[in-house]
Subunit: 298 residues, 2 copies
């Protein structure tokens, strides 16, 4: 793999470009915003705009709802021989790409499982994907060349390859990432609506619990909408669990005086076990270095 085009100079696209550059790959960065394109190209020591000859691979690093039209456009312009994406919803991207008439033998869906609540090329860093899962969702229509190119990309980024079906992937990330994002937003929203003296009591617990709620609304609205069915399916049992907790808490609140005030031990036990399981997952890469200073254009 000698030349890769990255379409979309955000956090993920730029971080991929930085890793590819470190492996000696020639990187071309394309973004509809000229400033983002320039910054992203500079950060991965690449080139702005499409290469003169088709690249070995194009990485479509745009929000899920934009993948199909962007893929269609660049396939028709012959940007690369093979294509992959990084969107966190795979069924809806595949449906839209099929409907748009994309050449699907030259495309394999991908999802590197790393990120940051900070968006854009300045938040990018080399090594973001080191040791992290990178899901690929090939099917029987996927061509060997596209799969090989995607595998080379995963390897160049030092990620851990995971092959899954699209629906299986979508259900998994709904549970581990998308539904938690909705819940974190609801928690943060509730604290945000509270009086100032309540906000001042916030500690490390609520900070950690709501960190992901800092993500961009535009991107996350697209992600949740693109995986709406699986996110709804993951959210429903959470709501049932919380409603059950509410009923138990009301029973305790209404219990006669002297009753030992204990509640929700079953949920807390299961939560502790789930937490322990979550901590067995492959550890993330080393902590991020301080962010690059963002120059002012004012």
């Amino acid at each position: 793999m000698r030349t890769v085009a990255v379409v979309g100079g955000g956090l993920i696209g730029t971080s991929i470009g930085m890793d590819l550059h470190a492996c000696g790959v020639r990187v071309h960065v394309i973004d509809r915003d000229p400033v983002t394109q320039a910054v992203a190209a500079e950060r991965c020591r690449g080139y702005e705009g499409a290469p003169p000859e088709p690249a070995d691979l194009a990485v479509i690093a745009v929000p899920p709802g934009a993948v199909a039209p962007v893929l269609r456009e660049w396939q028709s312009r012959g940007l690369a021989r093979c294509y992959t994406d990084v969107a966190s919803a795979k069924e809806s991207v595949h449906r839209a790409a099929t409907a748009a008439g994309c050449a699907l033998d030259a495309f394999v869906g991908g999802h590197p499982m790393a990120g940051s609540e900070r968006p854009g090329p300045y938040a990018a860093r080399a090594g973001l994907f080191t040791g992290r899962p990178w899901v690929l969702t090939p099917d029987r229509h996927t061509g060997t060349a596209a799969l090989s190119a995607a595998l080379a990309l995963v390897e160049a980024c030092g990620a851990r390859l995971v092959v899954m079906g699209r629906a299986e992937h979508d259900r998994a990330v709904a549970t581990t990432s998308h539904a938690p994002h909705v819940v974190a937003s609801a928690l943060a929203s509730a604290v945000g609506a509270a009086p100032q003296e309540v906000v001042e009591l916030c500690g490390a617990g609520i900070r950690d619990a709501t960190r992901i709620a800092a993500g961009e609304t535009g991107l996350w609205s697209d992600i949740l909408g693109s995986n709406a069915s699986a996110v709804a399916a993951a959210l429903e049992p959470l709501i049932t669990e919380l409603t059950d907790a509410l009923v138990q808490l009301r029973a305790v609140a209404g219990a006669p005086p002297g009753t030992p005030p204990r509640a929700l031990a079953g949920l807390l036990d299961r939560g502790g076990e789930g937490r322990a399981r979550i901590m067995t997952a492959q550890p993330a890469a080393a902590p991020a270095p301080p962010p690059v200073a963002v120059p002012s254009y004012a």
Copy 2:
């Protein structure tokens, strides 16, 4: 303040003892578990058991449901001239202490807003409360001596004094700490029940979102039960919010093809604003040092 008795050698009691020792106060540690008492006393360079003369202050550092009986017992034995506690529910502690016949003029309710998901005296550290809010809930029955002693304790621990009513406190921590704990437990429980390949996709987001779910079931069952009414009141609008999100997601999932797949922008915006407000709260003290090695008793 020259002598303080700490009843309960857990994370909070021991951390308080360490700060008091650093201020030159003579610390006596009492715990029903002899090993915990010995470790806690050693960690705050204090003494095991009650002092020969009444202490200036006794800090009842036990779970909320145990405060009233423990306070009653030690008041009857003359452990100290004044008493405070550290429980994160103040109405139920006050009700139980009243019912138990405690001397309430010698007691002021307190709640230092710092902690860790790791329990016990080995997780304790000096400076845990530095710069953190420490709520006191005096009322018109509170004696001047008890209030003065509690104020000296807050100052010795370098905390930021916040005076609130008991009900106001309970509502505030239900929003910022107790309801988020229930939600984090539900999230962790859902991931814990998923197949192993789902767990392996977990990243930093779900780790942070579920960190507090690692807390001890016994302690948290007591906390949630002791503040059941306020936690239920905080949980109810969260459930409404999530149910509303579920309805919106289903509408998006059922929308005709070609509809831009965007969802929940209002919730995500409010979540982002709430998150920004949470981050304006007084920063926590410096990050915790690595935990003290726990010797094996096996």
